[in-house]
Amino acid sequence: MTTAIRKRLPRNDALQKVTGDAQYADDIYLPGMLYGKLLRSPHAHARILDIDTERALALPGVRAVVCGIDTSGIKYGTVPDEQGLAIDKVRFIGDEVAAVAAVDEETAEEALALIDVAYEILPSVHDPLLAMQEGAPVIHEASAHIYDAARNISRRTHLAYGNVEAGFAQADYVFEHTFETQMVNHATIEPHSAVAQYDPGGKITLYSSCQTPFLIRSDLAATLQMPLTRVRVVKPRVGGGFGGKREMMASDFSAAVLAMKTGRPVKVTYTREEALATTRQRHPTRISLRTGVTRGGRVVAKECHMIMENGAYNGRGPDILGSCPNYLTVLYRTPNIHFDGYLVYTNNPPGSAFRGFGNPQIRFADDSQMDIIAAELGIDPVELRHLNVREAGDVTPNKAIITSCGLRECVEEVDRATDFRNRWGKLPFGQGVGLACGHHTCGFKSLLPHDSSAAVVKLNDDGTANVLTGASDVGQGSDTALGMIAAEELGIPFHRIEMTTADTEVTPMDLGSYASRVTFIAGHAVRLAAADAKSQLLEAAADLLRTPPQDLVSENGVICSLEHPERSALVEEAIQHHLAHGPGSPILGRGAYNAPTDRLNRETGEGNTSPAYSFGAQVAEVKVDPETGRVRVIRMTSAIDCGVPLNPTAIEGQVEGSVAGGMGQALLESFSQHEGLILNPSLLEYRVPLAGEMPDMDTIIVETEEKEGPFGAKGVGEFVQIPTAAAIANAVYDAIGVRIHDLPITPDKILAALSKKGVGT
């Protein structure tokens, strides 16, 4: 019997969300607030010669116009190459050039048109392969951060583990294929938004639609040259993140700068077009995989060449590329690996983090190839996975430590639930099943030398508790998961927990929502804080009930003696007893956790950068209409190991949302571009799945107990989206015998491939 965990409890923010009460950044209207808008470059690559703001400033209602030269110009980013507003050069269509604050949106929009910018247009490059050639336009000046500026290579990750040559020598077969994945956008239904307030004492308060308030505070403080105490970042409710709101955006920076300049609150909310075309994207990639296998189906060596298109700026690109080798080593036992990847600048919109952090791209290639290998070797895909899956207790060639792993069981479960082996290769033409696997991290130590979080738990005299944590709920439900962890540890009902989160001034530090780290790392901190509070609570109860504290348990709001079950007290009675008879202070619990992991070694790629790994397997069942070429996913079965399931409803929610996202990338979502200009920057023509497109979805929870995780839990935010594209591609192959190597699998590609095969209309 538990107090909170394993229960299908309603989210603690659900009432606010169904009544319209939940407040997001764009819902904030402050007295005297101005509206900010950004002037963006219409050119893919140009030098800024001059900016004349006079006409704009003369427009009635305009309160300020700010250009790059009015700001510090300090570059920021993981590997700094980006400025809040461009000063010398613009590098993609949409690059921010100036910001305007005006009394209303109309005036601000009008003012943008009155800013005169003189550009010297430079040759631009939009294809990473061309960008890498000698003589290509150089996008960034040479610096210590850039691997080869002349060839636009921001970063090269070149690593080998084991003995690759010997590995291939052991192989009976070697398979080589190239795969491509497209640029996709997070398309959160809340566009990026920030409201900044400046007080004459010299302090900025920024309400930002973000995933990482503490990291944004660092970047904002650095670029504004202010101490951290003078910058307060508050995360209101956030309408979806998926990685797209984990860096400081020009909206954050400009709102702050404009507020400082005008002394009035300023709101900058992106239009849908800005959110889709100018923020961040999932990196397009080209992945060549060479895999050696034995006759029996064991993978013995792998060589991966990867071109990852960075777009105009780094974002989190260098670390994404740096993580890719890990994605090949962790999921399947692969003793010998050679990885050579390039992160290449182009004059296209910048790429960065997006649910999976490079893993979906690698997984589409690798699990598509696994399917090809299975067919070639005459080993069914389930068996091929069983021969190669990672197991608990393993240490990968690059020293990742697998503490818990239910991957084998996940494969078994999806096979059983879908009758996969009996149907694979045997369904009528047009119907197919496809299997793929995936994993992801529960944290990532890279940007900073720590991966940490802290929490405070305050017990109130009516038996309720306040939890303070810097963790950022961006919709995934971390406030609920963390509240449940606190409730469970304290032994008080969940609805008595009040969460105060993600305010850099009020809550303890947390790095934010990324790398599927929140439940694990912030959860650990919350549990420790709750445990600290509980030990004080039990001390008080021990005094009240005249029994040693180690004899007491707290469950569902009642503290009870194990030895003398008739001796019990309500939690509030114990708290009140503590206040009256204790040391005179209210009960305050503190907890902090820094994952016991290694920081990513960018040279060797070695080290255990995540405290645990989550695993899963997925079977897609599809129908392909041979006349239209349209693929429909009929059913998607996911078996997942996310440790002990804290809240099954929330977990299913993550799984189902991941399937939608993965299916979107697999089948629907893509940008058409014309020399760096996105032709479809709208939700009308950038098509994300709608309710009617969704398959039936089954989630099978394969429970493992992760010793390091809070109550045995692991992260669940990302890994389910990772295998989805490959599962669908494999199912399409099973259905019609056509292998699509480049995403998305659009109907025209299917028809073209069918007609090449001599099938079809």
């Binding site: 239009t271 200009l677 920057p681 028809l751």
Partner: protein, 338 residues
């Protein structure tokens, strides 16, 4: 994206509407549901000093059916009302299907038949924000020298993407147009100019008042088939409407086919219709008609998906619409191989 300033006018009688239209030639735009016009105005695609909301004009609302005149639909009748009407569903099935296939639920409960019939032609070099349009400069439709889809040509290729027009065309619908000099009724076909830039043939001061659809010929079956990538929201990438009449022997006595989304106007397919007329609708005959429709359709790169693929979809939608319409014929129908 804010709307440009304009004066909002909301007449409640047709007389007043026509008077207002006539009083401000060239400086007034008609709005019914607003689902198309307001997006375009936000994108600053048009400039207008006035917006004339015709939703409150009682003469423009409602459906009326008589066995003599057929169906009369006020131009400001909501698409959802049209789609849900039982009589329309049974007697004008293709029209109901087309109305039901527009956008999503909210677009149908806001959007009107007149608005859909007069839908502005669409192109992804046109339907964009002012910021977006600064990169390549204006397209031909917005005053540029050349079309950005068919480079070097001085003609707008934006495509008509409404769903209802083809379904009405195959029924022989007529449009009643009101204006300063009174009313005139023209075949729907004549409402379209075929020029992407000024696609609707209305004189200044005129508006579409009513769409009339004659009594379907006895036993005729109708259908509309739409191809899109998602089952909701999306405009058609290809759409085909069909009306088929068969005699007791199964010989085609009546054939009408029309396309949408593939050209600057909704268009009838006379060659394809001729193929069917007077013949039994075997698979072979249908393929012949489909081929004729395919070769007529000339979709351009005005939206996602390559034009060759969209032509294939035109063919498919035509075939499906013929089959569906034929199977709805009173005399019944079964496809025989040729």
């Amino acid at each position: 994206m804010s709307l440009p300033a304009f004066k909002y006018l909301r007449p409640d009688s047709l007389e007043e509407a026509i008077f207002l239209l006539g009083s401000h030639p060239g400086e007034i735009m008609i709005m019914a549901g607003g689902t198309d016009l307001l997006v375009s105005l936000k994108q600053k695609l048009f400039q207008t000093a006035r917006v004339l909301d015709v939703k409150a004009v009682s003469e423009l609302r409602g459906l009326e059916f008589t066995e003599t005149d057929g169906l009369k639909v006020g131009a400001a009748t909501r698409l959802s009302d049209l789609a849900a009407d039982k009589l329309v569903q049974t007697r004008y099935t293709g029209v109901a299907e087309a109305a039901q296939s527009v956008g999503a639920a909210a677009h149908r409960s806001m959007g009107t038949l007149g608005g859909n019939v007069c839908l502005n032609n669409r192109c992804w070099y046109f339907n964009q924000s002012p910021t977006w349009r600064t990169t390549f400069g204006s397209c031909y439709r917005l005053g540029g020298e050349s079309c950005l889809v068919a480079k070097g040509t001085a003609r707008c290729r934006a495509a008509y993407c409404g769903d209802t027009a083809p379904s009405l065309l195959v029924m022989g619908a007529q449009v009643k147009i009101g204006g300063p000099t009174g009313f005139r009724t023209v075949p729907l076909d004549e409402l379209y100019t075929g020029d992407g830039k000024a696609s609707i043939r209305l004189a200044p001061g005129e508006l579409v008042v009513e769409i009339t659809v004659p009594i379907p010929e006895v036993g005729v079956g109708t259908a509309y088939r739409k191809y899109r990538l998602r089952d909701s929201i999306d405009f058609p990438l290809a759409g085909a409407a069909c009306a088929i009449g068969l005699d007791d022997e199964g010989t085609c006595t009546h054939a009408r086919i029309a396309l949408t989304a593939v050209g600057s106007r909704p268009e009838r397919c006379p060659q394809a219709e001729d193929v069917l007329a007077g013949r039994k609708l075997t698979a072979g005959v249908i393929s012949e008609a489909v081929e004729a429709a395919r070769s007529q359709a000339r979709p351009l790169r005005t939206t996602v998906m390559p034009p060759p693929y969209r032509r294939t979809m035109v063919a498919l939608m035509v075939r499906n619409a013929i089959r569906a319409a034929a199977s709805r014929c009173e005399s019944g129908w079964e496809e025989y191989p040729s």
